[in-house]
């Protein structure tokens, strides 16, 4: 499991790689929250799931938690490149009502 942070213009990108569960989530959370807290000018956090090989509801908790934290900093979030299964799990939480979530293309 790893998280790579990249910054571009007003965006912070977090590329998550590997499995997201209750065991791996804390480290992912810390890396992303650190990036959020130091990027004063960034307006949007993009969580990129293209390299996520597995997630359970802990992945939803991770996204909801980042949404709450980003909101307190006046930032928005978006989730990109979810595979069909992970998109379905995300949708169960109703998160698409408060943040944009996108499926992987093709």
């Amino acid at each position: 499991m790893s998280v790579t942070i990249k910054r571009k213009n007003d965006y912070i990108y977090a590329f998550i790689k590997g499995e997201i569960d209750h065991h791996t989530a804390p480290e992912i959370r810390e890396t992303i929250d650190e990036a959020l807290s130091v990027s004063e000018t960034a307006k949007l956090l993009v969580l990129d799931f293209s390299e996520v090989s597995f997630m359970d509801s802990s992945g939803v908790g991770l996204v909801m938690g980042r949404y709450r934290y980003a909101t307190t900093l006046g930032k928005k979030i978006r989730v990109d490149n979810l595979d069909n299964r992970n998109y379905k799990i995300m949708q169960m939480s109703g998160i698409e009502k408060i943040a944009e979530i996108n499926r992987k293309e093709n």
């Binding site: 569960d21 597995f54 359970d56 908790g61």
Partner: protein, 145 residues
Amino acid sequence: MKKINQMKMILDSYSVNEGFSRVAVSAFASQLDMTVDELGDIKTIVSEAVTNCIVHAYKEKIGKIYITCTVFENGILRVSVRDRGCGIPDVKKAREPLYTSVGGDRSGLGFSVMESFSDKLSVRSKVGVGTTVTMEKRISGKKYE
């Protein structure tokens, strides 16, 4: 239903075992010639059930998690995950979507996910005694012989 094959394992409730438990169960279940999707469903269900034992049943302490996987003649896989933890006072309420008894980064979706990825899910629980979650899934692939 006639039993064909069975596997049991006992794990300590360390979070590092979450990954191991879902891989072990899916490796055993793969004798049923599952599709990639079905295998993914099984992994997700096991991950949810085992995580609940770690996070809720045993909370701050370490206890044993008992997993039984049974393959039946008609291509049904049954997985049960049992703990001797705190138990659930109101199972009906616990199974409601988005219900969680803890704050933080839990979303209250575990049971909803388990229900949606299995064909049948039963939860038996007694406060102070423990909880057993049993799921069944019909596997579409080649029948076991």
